[in-house]
């Protein structure tokens, strides 16, 4: 098979003052026709810049290619003029971006944007172009292509938007398709459909695909060939099966070792006392906005939901986006007022507390949030962030600070961190700070809403491990919200599966994974990317 894209010794320079001088230092890579090459690596490793260099869309001059060659279909990309590049872009190499919402112009119809691609590169009358566009929409399996053609991006769903992007990218049968994390923003079920679609179409067209991702599950699902990047350096490259099952480089091994296993741990029999109980919780978001703000229908976010959480236990709440997971976690901590129901925390019903009772009670139930940056007040020093809770609950200032320093050690951060500001930490470190803050009040229950989904796999693994350790050591009860079934499998004793605000299935994790009862759970399970691949047990 012919080589579509060949990158040799690619170097990309960053502007002065960036975290490193070269964003990319010596990348070699080949994409053949009909092949999917996955470029994997953690955040900031230079994946997107590689794509930018190939398309010649780097934000020049401050980020620019300074070394190496990029040969596309026999032409030297680096040497092309801008006019020549314009002819190549879109027609011969096309790109699919991560965020289908923002990658489409909100002010133009889907059809217009599809047509723009054709108009730019095809010398065909309007009617032919229209027919071609409709045909493309059909190929990406959009229901009712004719109406989708006239729709604005906001009028179709996220998955459909990504399909439109794919249709656009494929519409001129390019030789190379670059997909930069095309499914990261999508639900698992949709993600799998899109991956399948890309695979199918690419096989039909015989195009080469450079697929960028950080998710080894996705790699396992789609890749023929894998290239691993770390901080701009290529650490490993090889056929997918090789790299996934028998990684050579220590970094790759560590990464793969961090991928959570789909096999839940052996269930522990628990008859510990119940610490938290949700009873018939209900929350409806009323219709708001109107003509100019875009009318929304009333949403039943949580409907008649009940659960129990025992001491020392982790209860997972899983489900797709919009299923009501976050709403549950916010009702339980009473950051959101429920319409009805009760949250029994020990003897008290949290939802019936007066504001002052509630404030006292809050010490017993704490939260860890999803976005480690957003959940830390950027204007406060770490020590104050952690000490804030105890101080509010009456602990003398100095004592609270001393305690905060102790807690830093507990979450494996150096005490030197105490006097810094949140922005000086990496994502994983910030999440540790968040955990330390939650622990500072010595709560009985910790509610964690997607605490690791913003983190890279390796960091994710550490944070999960830390949580598991702490839970065991302090006999904490954890209400753990996640959309990632791999994570749920690893950490949770029991899970509840939510769909449209209701529980469709609940039970011990091992049981649910082994034998899902509900149709919806089954779909979820089968959509986990790379579900057939079991990360090899490696010693890092």
């Amino acid at each position: 098979m012919s080589v579509v894209l060949e990158i040799k010794g690619l170097q990309i320079a960053l502007p002065k003052g960036a975290d490193r001088p070269l964003a990319l230092d010596g990348l070699d890579l080949q994409v053949r026709a009909g092949e999917v090459v996955c470029l994997v690596g953690e955040s900031g490793s230079g994946k997107s810049l590689t794509a930018g260099a190939v398309m010649r869309l780097l934000p020049e001059p401050h980020v620019r290619t300074v070394g190496g060659t990029i040969t596309f279909d026999g032409t030297d990309i680096v040497a092309q003029t801008e006019a020549q590049m314009k002819r190549i872009r879109g027609a011969q190499m096309a790109m699919i971006f991560q965020e289908p919402m923002t990658a489409l112009n909100p002010q133009k119809t889907v059809g217009w944007q599809l047509d723009e691609m054709l108009r730019l590169h095809m010398d065909a009358p309007r009617r032919d172009r229209h027919a071609h566009a409709i045909a493309m929409l059909e190929r990406v399996q959009i229901p009712d292509p004719a109406s989708a053609y006239n729709a604005y991006p906001h009028q179709i769903s996220g998955g459909q938007r990504q399909r439109v992007m794919i249709a656009m990218a494929l519409s001129l049968s390019p030789k190379l398709i670059i997909a930069d994390e095309p499914t990261t923003a999508l639900d698992v079920t949709t993600q799998l459909q899109i991956l399948k679609l890309i695979r199918d179409l690419q096989e039909e067209e015989g195009a080469g695909v450079l697929f960028i991702t950080h998710d080894f599950g996705v790699v396992a699902e789609i890749a023929d060939h894998v290239v691993v990047l770390r901080q701009g350096e290529m650490v490993e490259s090889g056929p997918a099966s090789e790299v996934l099952n028998n990684p050579q480089h220590a970094y790759t091994r560590a990464l793969i070792a961090s991928v959570p296993d789909l096999k839940p741990p052996a269930p522990q029999q628990s008859d510990a006392p119940i610490v938290l109980e949700g009873k018939n919780l209900r929350k409806t978001f009323r219709a708001r906005g109107g003509l100019l703000t875009g009318k929304r229908k009333a949403v039943v976010a949580v409907n008649d939901l009940s659960f129990t959480l025992r001491r020392g236990e982790t209860l997972g709440v899983v489900g797709e986006s919009g299923s009501g997971k976050t709403t549950v976690s916010r009702i339980v901590t009473r950051l959101l007022e429920a319409d009805s129901g009760a949250v029994q925390l020990g003897e008290t019903d949290l939802l019936a507390c007066t504001p002052s009772q509630l404030r006292a009670k809050r010490a017993e139930i704490q939260m860890v949030f999803q976005d480690p940056m957003a959940s830390l007040n950027p204007r406060k020093r770490v020590v104050d962030l952690i000490a804030q809770g105890p101080i509010v609950h009456g602990m003398p200032r100095e004592e609270a600070r001393a305690k905060a320093r102790d807690l830093l050690e507990l979450v494996e951060l150096s005490p030197a961190a105490a006097d810094r500001f949140p922005h000086e930490f990496s994502g994983g470190q910030r999440q540790r700070i968040g955990i330390a803050r939650a622990l500072a009040l010595e709560p009985k229950v910790i509610v964690a809403d997607e605490p690791v989904s913003a983190l890279d796999v390796s960091v994710q693994a550490q944070v999960l491990k830390l949580l598991a350790d702490l839970r065991a050591r302090m006999s904490l009860s954890l209400l753990f919200v996640t959309h990632d079934l791999r994570v749920a499998a690893q950490l949770c004793d029991r899970i509840i599966v939510m769909q449209r605000g209701e529980i469709v299935e609940a039970g011990r994790t091992a049981d649910v994974f082994a034998d899902p009862q509900a149709e919806y759970t089954r779909t979820l399970m089968s959509s986990i990317p790379g579900r057939d691949w079991t990360p090899p047990k490696l010693s890092a």
Binding site: L57, N105, K108, E116, L291
Partner: protein, 329 residues
Amino acid sequence: MKLGLPPLLIYALRRLAQAVPVIILIMIGTFLLLKLAPGDTVDALVGDMGGADAQFIARLRAEYGLDQPVYVQLWVYMTKLATFDFGWSFVYEQPVATVLWDRLGVTLLLMATSLSLAFTVGIALGAIAARRAYSATDNVISTLGLVFYATPSFFLSLMMMLVFSVKLGWLPVGGIKTIAGFYTGWDHVLDVARHLIMPTAALSLIYLSFYLRLMRASVMEVADLDYVRTARAKGASESRLMIHHIMRNALLPVVTLLGLQFSTVLGGSVVVETIFTLPGLGQLAYQSVIQRDMNTLMGIIFLCSVIVVVVNFLTDLLYARLDSRIELK
């Protein structure tokens, strides 16, 4: 919706319902505020006349109802206003409606021309500056914008008048038309246009910089967005990007400002109208304040509120027209 009215009408009615309390608030507030001021219309009138005897002053005050308690005056005023009766201007000896009607045209003309000039030139220059960000062109445009912005309108007006009317004799000193010129048809239009050049320039140069700066920032922001990158990845040229993908999106925040700016411009026109003797609402408002011409000032404020509400409504429609995400359905 249930009534089966067209959505635009429903929307208009809802906006009206929202605007009414605001306008009532404004009217009551202004009325009470003016009552706090020392002296009343009669003082101003007597001052204008060069004095009057005591009975005359008392008679006038009774005639105008100024001897009644404030709440009675307010009640009388508001009930009249409810029937769109603006009352009588004791200073102009005319119904307020007539006084306002005479001035409205000039002000609307002045504001419309200066705002549209400021808007179009501002966004054009802003877009150019943004596309050549940090270049010499950008520096010149941005700095000039700031200099105009920093120049007090009266200073600018006086300097222009000195140069273009007195020294060069190109443009008339003030007024809205050549008095006793008796132009008709196109000559009249041309004559009015000549009179409006300097005031329009003075007003628009100041507001131009708002649009310029906002547009520049907006274009720079939009130019970094994903869909622009998408279009570029399609092989679109820079001009195509600008026209089809950047401009329209970048215009949105600028359009919002257009609505908000309207009442500020009316305030700004006080000075410009005074210097160029344009018989507009701005000057009238100033005169009404210092003459304590309650009814006229209240009328102006009312009219202004209505204009602002209408303009905001129109900008919302324009916004909805420009932004496909917003639907009136």
